[in-house]
Amino acid sequence: MSAQKGSAAPHLRLVSARIGHRPGQPLLPPLDFELWPGEWLVVAGPNGAGKSTFVQSLVGALPLLGGRREILTPGLRFGYVPQRLSFDPIWPLSTLDVVRMGIAPWLPPFGRSASASARARELLDQVGLGGLGDTPFRSLSGGQRQRALIARALVAGPQVLVLDEPANHLDPPGERALVELVSELRERTGAAVVWISHRLGALAQRLDRIAFLRAGAIRVGSLQALSAEGILEGFFEPGKEAFR
């Protein structure tokens, strides 16, 4: 957790938070949690454990069923990369248009951002899509779309970058390349990374903490600590990068 050592305060805090979609049916016991500036947090666990629900509550897209969510960094911005890569192809949008969407939540009514296009092109360069800004988004391959969506998530300069199971469609080399890319972007922007995954793979060498969800419970700690406690038993085998 090197990222949080030099930080005076977390970005946000959940206090006795009850998360879930239906009132009276929280997925987890009341939860206290802090997200620190610059940290790399992996939200892991088997399918259906509530990883996405936890992260939606964290970013504020899903209201808490109880407890409270405190924002400690004024004007905290989230960038979000969805799991799905297929979008309705009838939308007449260029790749640059899609990347520029990321600034929309922060524009006032009638507002337009003159700098968003330059920033979007810069990010497209950084994710390896320089020169494809004017290409229709629907013409991009799956991998290119994912990179464009990462650029979209970063265009507003968020302090937190959230990726929802981004490696699901990737083979191991593709996953390693994606982790490397996000790692480079994290270095450049200083953003905290929240990476949802049902496997740890190439993340094991990068992450600061894991929030591990299974069977209606959540444990948060370093990979070493959770492994030593046997929390990850049957899910992660150190040294093998094997995941179940």
Binding site: V59, G60, F78, V81, P82, P92, D97, M101, P105
Partner: protein
């Protein structure tokens, strides 16, 4: 062929043509989002919901003993029904297309059943709902102009958010846009516009104006701005051209406008092929 020339009869067609032009631009603007969100039948459903509102208003003196303005009731119920599409459309168990279909059939059936209690009012209900494309009272022109102003301000103010929330609602919500609230506002504007335009131009014409110009724009254009420009321009040309042709050839005005819109769709298809 009419015996009076088109230009000599300007006093006859000036106001209806202004109404048709305002309605065309209004519906074409709304239609871009209607088509992109795959909600093409929203216009038909709003017209049915409006008819239910009119019938309920006409029944009000018999049931609650007080008058409710039927036109206002039609517009309010039509716009409110569109807002409900937004709220139900994000429900994972039922899509927005099914919500629109439910509103269409249930409002239509309710209007028919309740309409049997008003056997002498059928013509009035029809007239209140669908107006007359060859006559345009000043209040209809004012209502259309106000709706167009509202729609232009709404789209200009929130365009980037509307595009993001419509294209990728999951990411938009996670990045801070209140998607359900925005959807409800969008459908309310669509519903209000369609209800007011239906009164002035008729249901078939409004249905066509919300679907065909935007479809032509998507066939012809590559960029969002080009799609909007094509939709507005083709709707205006078809409305004015259709009105002119219906006058000089004594054809039904609404249907002629729809066929003129069909011609612009073919033009959009041709332009799109040439640009490939």
């Amino acid at each position: 062929m009419s015996e009076v020339s088109f230009w000599e009869a300007a006093f006859l067609w000036r106001d209806p043509l202004i109404a048709a032009s305002l309605g065309a631009v209004l519906c074409a603007l709304c239609g871009v989002f209607v088509v992109l969100r795959r909600s093409a039948f929203v216009s038909a459903a709003v017209a049915q919901a409006s008819s239910l509102g009119v019938v309920l208003a006409l029944l009000a003196p018999h049931v609650i003993g007080s008058e409710i303005p039927p036109l206002a009731a039609g517009v309010v119920v039509g716009a409110a029904s569109a807002g409900l599409f937004a709220l139900s459309g994000r429900d994972a168990r039922i899509g927005v297309d099914a919500s629109i279909a439910l509103a269409y059939v249930l409002a239509g059936a309710a209007s028919l059943v309740l309409g049997t209690l008003l056997p002498h009012e059928y013509e009035r209900v029809h007239s209140l709902l669908f107006g007359d494309a060859v006559a345009a009272p000043i209040e209809e022109i004012v209502a259309l102009a106000l709706c167009l102003l509202l729609a232009v301000v709404f789209f200009a103010a929130l365009f980037p958010r509307l595009v993001f929330a419509s294209f990728d609602p999951e990411a938009a919500g996670a990045m801070g846009i209140r998607v359900r609230r925005l959807d409800a506002a969008l459908y309310f504007v669509l519903g209000l516009s369609i209800a007011v335009a239906t009164r002035a131009l008729g249901a078939l014409t409004v249905f066509a104006l919300t679907v065909i110009p935007a479809s032509g724009g998507l066939l012809a254009g590559r960029r969002f701005s080009g799609v909007i420009a094509w939709a507005v321009a083709s709707a205006l040309v078809a409305a004015a051209g259709g009105y002119y042709l219906s006058f000089v050839w004594s054809l039904p005005t609404g249907a002629t406008i729809v066929l003129a819109l069909g011609a612009t769709l073919l033009l959009g298809l041709a332009v799109g092929r040439l640009r490939r």
